[in-house]
């Protein structure tokens, strides 16, 4: 009898691969090129939530620009978890970067007092847009480039506030799935209290991303990474993915294409910007 060599057991839900050292080196190069090379800006400003995405972004910025040129702004609202504020401080302390806390409660409530019936989703969007207002103003004050922190998973699932989280002109993590961001965080030495906790938008008590989304990040990432290659739902099911989860992910991706684009502009002339008049972003 000959020994039988079988292929490794195929786990359709194996997370998308990443070599964190390679990714980190590449992203540091990206940040230096965009800030120092293209714009001649030596400072960066990052909104620090206490979560893993903004922590990883902060770590990369410090590698690229040095700790004294990285401004990390905590922007709590009165209902924000104290643990988030604490975790954000861990990052500031670990990196030796410039820390600042701007409480957004008064700004948010200044508007929401006129909208007492606003539900959690609207309130969360107001908070997110207020944070971006603060970030851009700090950017002007400090001559610092705002750095985005959104990851690929939330971008694909539309799990972010349009014209808020996605607004900064550059984003190092936007092509990394959440599970890859976790890998990168471990490699960079982000405190485990941040890497290992359940991700949360921290807009309500006990809120978690995975509870909101209805699927674990690890499973969504595996589905997304195959779906984006062009596999149809029946092909994904044939490869071992759960049909209900595939449908959920497909629905979220296909319902949010608009969130990954600039506003739709009516074309009226032969010189419509970005339709006829085309120039690269770095031209």
């Amino acid at each position: 009898m000959l020994p039988v060599v079988d292929p490794p057991k195929r786990d359709p839900y194996a997370p998308p691969k990443i070599d964190p050292a390679v990714a980190a080196g590449w992203l540091v190069g990206f940040l230096r090129d965009e800030c120092l090379g293209r714009r001649g800006v030596e400072n960066a400003v990052v909104g620090l939530s206490g979560g893993v995405d903004s922590a990883v972004t902060a770590y990369l910025c410090v590698r690229a620009l040095g700790p004294r040129n990285v401004h990390l702004v905590r922007m709590p609202y009165r209902t924000s978890s104290p643990a988030s504020l604490h975790d954000a401080q861990l990052v500031i302390d670990a990196l030796g970067a410039v820390g600042r806390t701007v409480d957004i409660t008064a700004a948010v409530d200044g508007y929401l007092q006129f909208e007492p019936e606003a539900d959690a989703r609207r309130r969360g969007n107001v908070m997110a847009r207020t944070r971006m207002l603060v970030l851009f103003d700090q950017s002007a004050k400090l001559a610092a480039l705002p750095i985005g922190t959104g990851n690929k998973t939330e971008r694909l699932l539309g799990y972010f506030t349009w014209h808020a989280d996605d607004t900064p002109p550059i984003n190092p993590l936007g092509d990394l799935f959440k599970t890859q961001v976790w890998e990168l965080a471990r490699y960079l030495g982000v405190p485990s209290a941040i890497v290992d906790k359940a991700p949360s938008a921290d807009l309500e008590a006990n809120q978690t991303d995975e509870g909101d989304l209805g699927i674990r990040y690890a499973r969504a990432d595996a589905i997304l990474s195959s779906m984006l290659l062009g596999y149809r739902d029946e092909q994904l099911r044939a490869r071992g993915f759960d049909g209900a989860e595939v449908a959920l992910v497909r629905r979220r991706v296909e319902g949010t294409h608009w969130k990954r684009h600039l506003p739709t502009t009516a074309m009226l002339t032969n010189t419509a910007i970005n339709e006829f008049y085309l120039r690269p972003v770095d031209y």
């Binding site: 000959l2 039988v4 060599v5 079988d6 490794p8 062009g230 044939a238």
Partner: protein
């Protein structure tokens, strides 16, 4: 191609054999045992691929004249073995052998399709590139083939058989892919050499890179069945492997031991790979211009490649 190929992967078994030199009957008996084993596997393989010179060993020198067989006879012997142990259960079998036809000898590979009713020879590929340098001496004893064929495997769809060095010339798998091949199947006998490598012989690494390159450039499956065992001090490097159209090594055997390597192929991965890296489509568009280049040696009158 099977109608349910989107839902159910194709099941392949690569037989990494270690034949005894020139002992055809003994090796055939050993293959019967392998087929018996394969017939007990659940699920049953739908395609079995054997290496180059699978039942004789590779380095035969003048003994190739005593070991060669007609394709019909070889196909009959192989298919009869399967019928004996597996009855009428359908299977496709690819195997390398030394072929004789009308006094000419070839290093060939056959593709058989066995169904409930009949056995058909779908293709006999004659090795195009006969290595005759260093340790190799094929052209002294063998004639060259002159065509890359693509035939319709009931399991895999359009498929091409190449033998060993055929795959080293990038134009050969390119022609196969241009003619429509979705799978390239390579029976091989590769003596190992190069101890400067990192953890394995250099020739094994080179083969892996080469085959992955073929898969990725053309968006096709590559199945490689390598002969194993030593032949007079020259160690064959086995390493039978299945490679997906995106270059992923689905499975790979060790170099030295005889074994059966199983793989499952989702055949619609070809469409995905070609959509994501449409090099083959690009080549189709540009190839006519490339071939019409009057600086190419065969279009410059009667000069040879060195311009003589």
């Amino acid at each position: 191609m099977r109608e349910d190929s989107e839902a159910v992967p194709a099941r392949v078994a690569l037989v990494q054999s270690k034949p005894r030199k020139g002992a055809y009957a003994e090796n055939l008996a050993a293959l019967r045992a392998v087929f018996s084993q394969l017939a007990t596997l659940e699920p049953l393989p739908e395609l079995i691929v054997l290496p180059e010179a699978a039942l004789t060993g590779y380095f035969l020198e003048g003994a190739v004249y005593e070991s060669a067989r007609g394709a019909e006879l070889f196909g009959h012997e192989i298919s009869s073995l399967w019928r004996d142990v597996a009855g009428q259960r359908p299977v496709e079998i690819a195997a390398g052998f030394y072929e004789v036809e009308n006094g000419s000898y070839y290093n060939s590979a056959i593709w058989l399709a066995l169904d409930e009713r009949e056995t058909r020879i779908l293709n006999v590929h004659r090795k195009l590139f006969l290595p005759t340098y260093g340790v190799f001496d094929e052209e002294r004893f063998l004639s060259r083939g002159n065509r890359v064929s693509v035939f319709d495997s009931p399991l895999l769809g359009p498929t091409s058989l190449l033998i060993c060095e055929d795959a080293w010339h990038s134009i050969v798998p390119t022609i196969a892919a241009l003619k429509g091949a979705r799978a390239i199947v390579v029976p091989s006998a590769a003596p190992g050499r190069g101890i400067e490598g990192d953890g394995e012989l250099l020739s094994i690494s080179r083969w892996r890179e080469l085959l992955r390159g073929i898969a990725m450039e053309h968006g096709c499956f590559v199945l490689y069945a390598g002969l194993a065992g030593f032949e007079g001090g020259k160690g064959m490097t086995g390493s039978s492997r299945a490679i997906a159209p995106d270059g992923e090594i689905l499975v790979e055997a060790d170099a030295r031991e005889g074994c059966i390597v199983r793989a499952e192929l989702f055949l619609d991965d070809v469409e995905i790979a070609r959509a994501n890296l449409p090099l083959l489509g690009d080549l189709r568009a540009v190839l006519p211009d490339l071939l019409a280049d009057d600086e190419l040696p065969w279009l410059r009158g009667r000069t040879d490649a060195a311009g003589r």
